[in-house]
């Protein structure tokens, strides 16, 4: 009997230990800020119902232990922890896209000579990457009629699509949109002419 009790005592203390480990496991929720593929480090604000924490420097980490507790004070994530925890996810990270910017003769759907040469580079990129999507977006600056600008931007984007189709790129890869003046390369107030914003952007993924 005494023996049995001591076994139970040992078992229950073992159980308590096990529960501690499980509870510790539950708390393993972390958010880490790291540099993006271009080396740029932004900012992230992590909030629970009890408070928030700002991540600002590369490697900044906060841990979350339930929505009723504030995020932990910021620590620095060890590279070994990052590699061990996120290795699988990082291994399948999509390669950064290749981005091409094409310029046109003023008011027309004719590519500048320099941009015409870029078509071959786009085709090479699509083939080399075995691309799964090619997005072509037409952009305008913030002058003139939105309606006419959008129409021209879309016609230019369609023109680039036609050139890629001529080179044997499969139509199902390609999507074409007009972003109008809503996604400028260089931000300007309305009514300011900016030739660098009148462009077509081809993004190859």
């Amino acid at each position: 009997m005494a023996n049995r009790q001591s076994i139970w005592a040992r078992y229950s203390s073992g159980l308590a230990g096990l529960m501690l480990i499980v509870v510790g496991g539950c708390a393993s929720r972390s958010i880490i800020l790291v540099p993006d593929p271009l080396g740029h480090v932004g900012r992230a604000e992590v909030s629970t119902s009890a408070g928030k924490q700002l991540l600002e420097k590369p490697g900044d980490m906060t841990r979350i232990s339930g929505s009723s507790n504030p995020p932990s004070a910021v620590t620095t994530a060890a590279p070994a922890f990052i590699a061990a925890t996120f290795g699988e996810a990082l291994a399948v990270e999509p390669a950064p896209p290749q981005i091409f910017i094409l310029m046109f003769e003023a008011g027309a759907t004719i590519l500048t000579a320099q941009s015409q040469e870029m078509i071959a580079a786009i085709v090479t990129a699509i083939e080399r990457r075995s691309a799964i999507s090619v997005s072509i977006s037409g952009h305008t600056d913030a002058t003139g009629s939105d309606k006419l600008n959008d129409l021209l931007a879309l016609e230019r984007a369609q023109q680039v699509k036609a050139l890629l189709l001529q080179q044997g790129i499969k139509p199902e890869l390609i999507s074409v949109t007009s972003h109008g003046k809503g996604n400028p390369a260089i931000a300007t107030p309305d009514g300011v002419p900016e030739p660098r914003n009148r462009r077509v952007v081809v993004i190859v993924h």
Partner: protein, 148 residues
């Protein structure tokens, strides 16, 4: 009765094309796959092969072992390791109309998240929800671990 039935029919006819158009909007692709990956769309579960298209509301699930790398049309990139679940709760990328939304729900697992053009153009419209926290991001890359 007859009137209400007709009203219903009209409502359905009006609503149906709008819904169909919305549902048909491709918001991204699965670019890389390791092991078992599935997409839950409404009541159906589809195999998540490389090149599979994604729609708003899709849930991407990885097995053990399993991993998936996703690209959305605004260049947002999300990759997830084994035993992970990601729900694409809301998405809109229409710069011409100034319409932006990106709501990602990371349910469990490990994630690498690189922000795209939505965060660049309208950071306030992008949110990541985890089971007990919300993350607002200003142009960057984040690693997120949600162990159950």
């Amino acid at each position: 009765m007859k009137t209400s039935a007709r009203a219903f029919l009209v409502a359905t006819l009006v609503a149906a094309p709008a819904f169909a158009q919305q549902a048909a909007e491709v918001i991204g692709h699965i670019q890389n796959v390791q092991g078992v990956v599935s997409i839950q769309r409404g009541g159906t579960t589809l195999s998540g092969a490389a090149g599979a298209v994604l729609y708003r509301g899709d849930l991407v699930r990885t097995g053990t072992p399993g991993a998936a790398g996703i690209v959305l049309t605004d260049d947002t990139s999300i990759s997830q390791g084994s035993g992970s679940e990601l729900s694409l709760d809301d998405y809109a990328f229409e710069p011409k109309e100034g319409k932006f939304a990106l709501v990602l729900r990371m349910i469990k697992g490990t994630f690498s998240y690189i922000t795209g053009q939505i965060v660049k153009l309208a950071p306030e419209s992008a949110h990541v929800h985890t089971p007990d926290a919300t993350i607002a991001v200003r142009g960057t890359k984040l690693l997120i671990q949600i162990q159950e």
